[in-house]
Amino acid sequence: MIKTFHKTLAGFGAALTLTAGMVQADTIKIALAGPESGPVSQYGTMQFIGAEMAVEQINKNGGVNGKKLEAIRFDDACDPKQAVAVANKIVNEDIRFVVGHLCSSSTQPASDIYEEEGILMITAASTSPDITSRGYEMIFRTIGLDSLQGPTAGRYIAQSIKPKRMAVVHDKQQYGEGIATAVKETVEKAGIDVVLFEGVTAGDKDFSALIAKLKKEDVDFVYYGGYHPELGLILRQSADQKLDAKFMGPEGVGNKDISAIAGKASEGLLVTLPKSFDQDPANKALVDAFQAKEQDATGPFVFPSYSAVQVMADSMKLAKSEDPTEIAATLRSASFSTPTGSLAFDKKGDLKDFNFVVYEWHSDGSKTPLN
């Protein structure tokens, strides 16, 4: 019984793939996978608008190898379980190119599936080093790594802040804990004592116990590895409890919503972010194009997502092919001129060169570069 059921299922699957294959003959489909819902969906929006703009512009300039690109959104809600479901759906729909996912904890399990199925994946946002450290062929990224971002933050703390009693807090997730650990190691090498290293639960609302502890430890600097919903509340509750410390976080907290949540308490927060590509004069035309569509081009993942689509399209042109394996090989051998600079990939699929910048955040949601 079960055997026949499986056969039917397999047959059904094959039929489905066949029809899908026939329909998509004249477009090249690119799946955009990221959170459209859930607490960090605004990052997903950055990724989607960046990638869709690239698709639009490439199509306007004649497409790729005589074909148009077609972007299709998939919502993984930044939930690892849903990310796997999305990956399976992409496989079933016979899409061979993916830009995404966004959260490292979603990208990791989804990338296993893409690698196995020979689907080319470029993430524009996942910064966990583990994603490209497994010898995979099909997995690339157009953003820097936590192992770069952590030391950048750590060096800045050691050289410019020189805190007396520093604490490192993280949200126990792959991204947050990874980056927090990297910061801790860097500052400890520079001789700064980390008096407290603790994890909080993502989704928690009350951090008063932790803040009382930070206050008792007389901490004057806190590094937080994680996303803005938790740090926003920590900042707000710290102000209520009169904790006198400076805070710093990775690009996961560098979002206007942190100012909405924390209000005045977000003034003076330090954030490491990719360079503001929207400030680059070379990207003026592109920024105007975003503005014409009433989209916000200032988010950290907008331009890396644009570049992800562009390097995909450029290497399809270079390789004169739509075969993901050939394109992966081209990505490794060529270099590409994109709005995020001249990009070249190393053997692992990481960028050869990517810089993070330290910004000071203001309570109105704006930021000023510090180094």
């Binding site: 819902s37 994890g199 639960t201 609302k205 008063s208 116990a209 926003g232 209520d240 919503d257 209000g263």
Partner: protein
Amino acid sequence: MPESAYYFIQQLLNGLTVGSTYALIAIGYSLVYGIIGMINFAHGEIYMIGSYVAFIVMAGLAMIGIDSVTLMLLGAFLVSIIITSTYGWSIERIAYRPLRGGNRLIPLISAIGMSIFLQNYVRLAQGSKDIAMPSLITGGWTIGPADGFSATLSYMQVLIFVVTFISMTALTLFISRSRMGRACRACAEDQGMTNLLGINTNGIIALTFVLGAALAAVAGVLLGMYYGVINPYIGFMAGLKAFTAAVLGGIGSIPGAVLGGLILGITEAFTAGYFSTEYKDVVAFSLLVLILLFKPTGLLGKPEVEKV
């Protein structure tokens, strides 16, 4: 007083506040369970809707130029209680009443479905982004030395304690003293018999859900302002913790729900304060398991007599 004493006081206050927030939601769980013996898993979602309504009312009042704190609070509480009560009544009517009398598990599944529906309905209607609630009540007291560690207690925290205790007392009195309360208790004993004696059991059960929803609204308004952030997912975690508190204190007992909430909150605060934030849930839930091992009905719960 030494610094460690102030630290202890601060963590105790933190624990009491978190505990009161759990208790406020747990009372609603316990009320419904006590009367119809059903766990209303959509209760956390009602709490979330209460927060959203409060936010909409506050934003609306601010837009038409009313910025008096008293008016805003009053408006938020009133509108939010009315709207969530309507939700409470409709949920009972749509999702639970048609299933009443059957297997006990069926309404439970229906409740989980309702919870998922409400969460996604709010997500679609309001978006999944965090919304920042204005904190209308600011400031507080500071106790302790000017230099070194000092404990703080905000007016908002005090308001949460006070409202929790008023709700608990008022409800306990309502159930034990009023005519309606007697009808509620009769319903809990034996629905069929109560009906035969001329009491509209459907009405009583609907009233229970309305009361539960009104309490959830109060919690929604207060906690929304206290934490300052609401999103469509806050109901799930809050509901889970409140449910734990209700079970810990003895589900069905209203003072038990408050006691359970406070114990849970204080355990979490002390674990986070003296041990590590990472283990606060582990310790809190281990405590739950321990208490249930030695007292399966919870701290103040009455042993359930199997009805035949």
